[in-house]
């Protein structure tokens, strides 16, 4: 089976997302360090605060550099006439199979980071939840959306015929 992968620029997008998280963490860590230095009652807690803050920032930094690579390596999707299969995850890898006839609607969306990179996300909505195919070029996102829509209509048109046959 020919699985497809997101655009390599998605890797940059994930890194920017994690970098924003890391900046927030850094601000909090610096704020906490200043607070323990300025407030006399908190001075005893200075070493644990430095250690925990430092460890979290280090983990965030490693996460920003390494995790997107693993995530990208494991991200793949497959579309056939009958189903959409999405494989993704970092430590826990999940495989999701969605029969096309169950799709309720399809949305193409773009957040601020993806807008900068020219990437899109296709969201497949079912009654019980939503699934996403991320990091797609506009052309590919529209192609997926159109293909899914066409296949969905084809399948739905085929269904009554199948029902008649069974009767």
């Amino acid at each position: 089976m020919n699985y497809e992968k997101p655009d390599p620029k998605a890797l940059t997008g994930w890194r920017i997302g994690r970098l924003i998280g890391l900046c927030i963490l850094l601000i909090l860590a610096v704020g906490a360090s200043i607070a323990v230095n300025l407030i006399d009652d908190l001075k005893e807690a200075a070493i644990p605060v430095y250690l925990i803050g430092g460890a979290l920032v280090l983990l965030g930094l490693l996460g920003m550099l390494i995790l997107p690579v693993i995530e990208y390596r494991q991200w793949k999707y497959l579309m056939t006439d009958e189903k959409v299969e999405i494989v993704h995850g970092i430590f826990f890898v999940s495989t999701t199979i969605v029969p096309i006839v169950r799709i309720q609607h399809i949305t193409i969306e773009q957040g601020p980071i993806y807008r900068k990179l020219g990437l899109f996300t296709v969201t497949i909505a079912l009654a019980s939840g939503t699934f996403q195919i991320v990091g797609l070029q506009e052309e590919r996102a529209r192609e997926i959306s159109e293909t899914l829509r066409a296949r969905l209509y084809n399948r739905l048109e085929e269904q009554p015929a199948a029902g008649e046959e069974s009767e």
């Binding site: 995850g89 169950r102 009654a127």
Partner: protein
């Protein structure tokens, strides 16, 4: 052509959920009368204001909302300043059910709940209004499209009998609701014995927690009444509690909670499901129950996504269980809590095979399940509840063994580790039972999953209702041919996802090959 309305709801809707809304206020008033001081009421003056908000908003809604039914749609017009018009095509309506609280029963009024497929994910299109019983039956027939259909066939008013006994509706009025064109295949009523048994055998964990939270309120108020009572300066009750040692006190509290849980469970289930009758019709299942609040549900068979057979530890021992149903459009109560989708209170395991065959097409009890491999057992212990129990046990042990912790002051410090150990063993037993219960089966017509520790849950899902399947595990685990499987079906979010842990990857592949594409 307009067949009903435009008309307002019955004014009794203002007092819907009377005890729920006014219960706290009544309790506070009772407390003030017992204590002989109204200072508590004046100190909590915000409470009556908050309590009155609900009925006031319903009064506004009653005054400025009208309902109309024509041949094609239910039309609701609401609001004074911000006007809103809602149109619900009759073809999209999935169920029309009635609820009758005690006050509604006395006044001969039904609360009519209309749901459509869109109410799967929220309450936006859920419609609720109150009507006199005979008008409600008439409206139900129109909403379900029966009167229109019959009128077209030249037989008007033949499907819903209109009687003169609506002034004081009894169970007969409810029974008449299933007197429509559908053929009745079977009817079964739950006996009082079965309801009492259900209350006795139900899992007591949640009930004990509810009793505990209720007891906390009672103790807060009660302590002011009893613990401060003294004879010659002696506070007898309080001192008696203080004299008990740690373990004995904990055991006493647990035993008391368990006993109260049993009594409350029996009483509540008997009251809630009193007069439970299930009628199997050719296209639908009709369920009615309740003593104080009488409820009816009409479940269309083709909308059923699956069935669940739930067994508490004790029920499993005597091969009995409770039957629940998952239905598209069978959605949420007014407060967004999931509707209780009980299909039968207590049923023998042997009966389940015949019950499923008769009531739910395409679903049956499978003969064989694929069980997890023996090497999967350690992975079952890698779950949050067992890890939490280990951490708690280690902490209680550390309090006793680590010299640095000797300075920490805790009640019953020396016996805490025993409680930690009991909790750990209890959790380990629950995980081992989960390993024993777990199983998966898939064929061309259904998926069946068995999961749960002390409470065993067997679900039977129609393959046509499965929306997606997912497996999730680490790569190491996948290399050992093990994974968690999640099956999502068309149902309210609370009942939409069903999971089994640590089954083989092959069983997932087989499940995926069985899906209806």
């Amino acid at each position: 052509m307009i067949r009903f309305g435009p008309r307002r709801s019955h004014p009794l809707i203002i007092f819907f959920n009377f005890f729920k809304n006014f219960g706290l206020l009544i309790a506070l008033l009772a407390f003030c009368i017992i204590v002989g001081s109204f200072s508590a009421l004046w100190n909590n003056v915000a409470l009556p204001i908050v309590v009155l908000m609900g009925p006031l908003s319903r009064l506004y809604s009653y005054l400025f909302t009208t309902y109309t039914i024509d041949d094609k749609k239910l039309f609701i017009e609401k609001g004074l300043l911000n006007k809103q018009k809602i149109e619900i095509p009759l073809t999209t309506i999935t169920s029309v059910d009635f609820t009758q609280s005690l006050i509604f029963q006395v006044m001969g009024v039904y609360m009519v709940n209309v749901e459509n497929a869109a109410s799967i994910r929220g309450n936006q299109t859920k419609v609720q209004f109150a009507l006199k019983s005979e008008t409600a039956l008439d409206a139900k027939a129109l909403l379900m499209g029966r009167k229109t259909r019959n009128a077209g066939e030249g037989s008007t008013h033949s499907t819903v009998p209109m009687g003169d006994d609506a002034a004081y509706p009894t169970a007969d009025v409810f029974h008449r609701q299933d007197d429509d064109n559908e053929k009745i295949l079977s009817r079964r009523a739950a006996t009082i014995g079965e309801l009492i048994m259900m209350g006795l055998l139900q899992s007591k964990g949640l009930m004990m927690f509810q009793v505990l939270s209720g007891a906390a309120v009672v103790i807060t108020f009660g302590s002011q009444l009893f613990f401060h009572e003294s004879v010659d300066g002696q506070q007898y009750i309080f001192e008696w509690f203080q004299k008990l040692d740690g373990i004995r006190l904990v055991l006493l509290v647990l035993a008391a909670l368990y006993l109260v849980g049993i009594v409350a469970g029996v009483l509540l289930s008997t009251l809630k499901y009193f007069g439970f009758v299930i009628t199997n019709r050719s296209d639908s299942i009709f369920v009615e129950y309740g003593l104080l609040t009488r409820k009816t549900h009409t479940i269309m068979k083709d909308k059923i996504s699956g069935i669940s057979f739930k067994q508490s530890f004790l029920m499993d021992r005597i091969h009995m269980g409770m039957v629940y149903v998952f239905v598209a459009g069978f959605s949420l109560e007014e407060d967004n809590a999931p509707k209780d989708a009980l299909l039968f209170p207590l049923m023998r395991q042997k009966e389940l095979i015949g019950f499923l065959k008769g009531h739910v097409p395409e679903v049956e009890v499978p003969e064989v399940y694929t069980k997890p491999e023996t090497r999967a057992l350690p992975y079952f212990f890698l779950c949050p509840r067992f890890l939490l129990a280990v951490v708690l046990f280690a902490s209680t042990l550390a309090v006793v063994l680590v010299p640095a912790a000797h300075g920490i002051s805790l009640p019953f410090k020396d016996s805490l580790w025993m409680l930690g150990l009991v909790l750990l063993l209890f959790t380990a037993a629950s995980v081992a039972m989960e390993y024993r219960h777990t199983g998966i089966h898939a064929d061309a017509s259904q998926v069946s999953l068995v999961s749960g520790g002390f409470t065993k849950n067997r679900v039977f899902l129609r393959i046509g209702s499965v929306e997606s399947v997912r497996e999730r595990a680490t790569l190491t685990k996948k290399n050992k041919n093990m994974t968690h499987v999640l099956v999502s079906i068309i149902a309210v979010p609370q009942y939409a996802n069903h999971r089994v842990r640590n089954v083989s990857l092959d069983s997932f592949r087989h499940l995926a090959s069985c899906l209806r594409y």
